[in-house]
């Protein structure tokens, strides 16, 4: 009975909290997290426990079976994303409660937006219906745009507008793809589509539209232009949420739809093309990150680069053997989760460093290592995972991808993995070199509240820990997928 409750609560609870936070006075809005976070954690853990004990299942909303009604899918992948969201968003919320005290004009509406964003994301993770995914994408996307606009400075408004236009164009392309699929197969349920999928022109065009729309929303190079101003310019907890979680939403949908329609229906060159774009993102994003002068812009471009690795999934899983495909699945998901944890940690600790020196310029970080070792330690720990050094989650992910590439005789992706790591090392060490340099500029620093440092440190440690204990989460993530639980 409780299992029935926890699944809908994952989106109903944040929706309800979103409305409640509009109704209470501004002073009470942040306090709602003390109700919301424990309940959402409880629901997420309950869903995981049930997955492990009872196996994956389908939840029929309204008691209507798909394709008439909308179903939710509670498999390993969905539950993994839900837990990741709960962990990262909870820590970002705790961080924001303290951080936003300096931004009274923007802070009171951060909270309703956070809850609605959370509802949208959990809706996406659970969705099994492609039109429902469209509505979920809009909830998540518009909440994210609202968060970017929160500061209402001209820069923030321009970044929000750019982001909004990209998001709207992406959703429309996706919607048109859904329209074509419905006309061809008469169903919106992924299970139904998987059964009926056939290679014909309509499916190809629909898939192309869906892929293009989602690439724009995921900001894959060369469609990334909206990302750096939006992620780099937003309030720090917002940057962390957007970079760690929101872009994963559209990637997740792409992955699901690819596995439903892709392997049988798409020509193999599409998969290779996606891989090549991913490689382009790794190189371009890494290069641009290294060239930035502002700390958060550097971190934002690092996201552009890290998105690229996720797209190696497509060439490694399409038309390769079962073992290579399984490794690609494991590796991509490990990269995804590790990036979520590491990038949130990186943005939060970057925010702490900026608070400490009172400047966003990397060159003003000179000498900060003496004053803020803890912030810098979190930054470095997260950096280890982004660079892919052992024993981090980033390392495990790359290692699995590397094995998959070798097994499927696609050695060229090794170059991407290797050079990408070097580029990440270059931009991470750029920050470190500055912080350890002794200079006359700095003789004092502002001490940020302890909560800010602790939340960043927890996330950074998690990005390392996930690499050490990769076996179990990867086993759970495979439950109910085509890659077996073996």
């Amino acid at each position: 009975m409780i299992g029935l409750w926890s699944v809908p609560l994952l989106f109903a609870l944040p929706l309800a909290l979103g409305i409640l936070s509009l109704l209470v006075t501004p002073a009470w809005r942040p306090r709602l997290i003390f109700v919301g976070l424990p309940l959402l954690t409880l629901a997420s853990v309950d869903v995981l426990a049930r997955l492990v004990l009872e196996g994956p299942r389908i939840y029929e909303l309204g008691g209507w079976e798909a394709p008439l009604g909308i179903n939710l899918v509670v498999d390993g992948l969905a539950v993994g994303m839900i837990l990741m969201t709960t962990l990262v968003a909870s820590l970002c919320a705790l961080y924001a409660r303290v951080y936003l005290r300096d931004y009274p004009a923007s802070s009171s509406f951060f909270w309703p937006l956070l809850w609605l964003l959370w509802a949208g994301m959990n809706g996406i993770w659970l969705a099994e219906d492609i039109f429902n995914l469209y509505v979920g994408l809009e909830v998540m996307g518009l909440a994210a745009v609202g968060m970017v606009a929160l500061r209402a400075t001209p820069q923030a408004l321009a970044a929000a507008m750019r982001y909004l236009l990209a998001a709207l164009l992406g959703s429309l392309a996706y919607l048109l793809g859904v329209a074509l699929l419905y006309a061809t197969y008469g169903t919106l349920s992924m299970a139904g589509l998987q059964e009926a999928a056939a290679p014909n022109a309509t499916t190809h065009v629909a898939l192309a539209l869906i892929i293009l729309g989602l690439l724009l929303k995921t900001a894959l190079f060369p469609l990334h232009a909206w990302l750096p101003p939006a992620h780099g310019g937003a309030l720090t907890p917002v940057s962390a949420l957007l970079s760690a979680l929101v872009i994963k939403g559209s990637f997740y949908i792409l992955m699901r739809i690819w596995l439903v329609l892709g392997p049988e229906v798409t020509p193999i060159f599409t998969a290779q093309l996606l891989g090549v774009l991913g490689a382009g993102a790794v190189f371009y994003g890494g290069w641009m990150a290294w060239r930035q002068h502002h700390l958060k812009q550097l971190v934002a471009y690092s996201t552009v680069a890290q998105i690229g690795y996720l797209f190696l999934f497509f060439p490694l899983v399409t038309g390769t053997g079962p073992e290579a495909a399984r490794l690609a699945w494991d590796g991509t998901l490990m990269m995804l989760v590790a990036h979520a944890l590491a990038k949130a940690a990186l943005f939060l600790s970057a925010g702490n460093l900026i608070l400490a020196v009172g400047s966003t310029q990397i060159s003003h970080l000179v000498g900060i290592s003496r004053f803020r070792p803890m912030s810098l330690f979190s930054f470095g720990l997260a950096g280890v995972s982004l660079m892919g050094l052992p024993p981090s989650g980033g390392f495990t992910g790359k290692w699995l991808l590397l094995h998959s590439a070798i097994l499927s005789d696609q050695w060229w992706w090794l170059i991407v993995l290797f050079l990408g790591g070097l580029l990440s090392a270059a931009y991470i060490f750029k920050v470190f070199r500055m912080s350890f340099r002794e200079g006359p500029q700095i003789d004092r620093s502002i001490t940020p509240p302890l909560t800010l440092d602790v939340t960043a440190l927890i996330l950074a440690s998690a990005s390392i820990l996930i690499g050490l204990t990769a076996h179990l989460p990867l086993f759970w993530l495979r439950l109910g997928s085509a890659f077996g639980a073996g």
Partner: protein, 98 residues
């Protein structure tokens, strides 16, 4: 050619036309017009194609009503951001950097 298919074809043309406008224009208000025209185009494709040769289907009708509400919410949000942007910068387009 059924009536439904005619409208699906107009939907295709509207989507293409809107896409051109969305990219070619710089004025944000015009880009929002283009976005709405693209939206209408995809709604027509959705209903027109689903009903071609098969009669009335209430499911796409409901989807389009949902879509129209989502479109108006997006447009309203965009206009709010646009008006604040205009108020802060005096510009009706986005600066050409990147």
């Amino acid at each position: 050619m059924s009536g439904a298919l005619v409208f699906a074809w107009s939907g295709v043309l509207l989507f293409g036309l809107g896409l051109f406008g969305f990219i070619a224009h710089r004025h944000l208000l015009r880009r929002l017009l283009a976005f709405n025209i693209m939206g209408s185009g995809s709604f027509l494709v959705l209903v027109g194609l689903a009903q071609d040769g098969r009669g009335v289907d209430p499911v796409p009708h409901a989807m389009v009503i949902t879509g129209i509400v989502v479109a108006v919410a997006s447009t309203a949000l965009a206009l709010v951001v646009f008006r604040r942007w205009y108020r802060a910068s005096g510009r009706t387009d986005l600066p050409e950097d990147t």
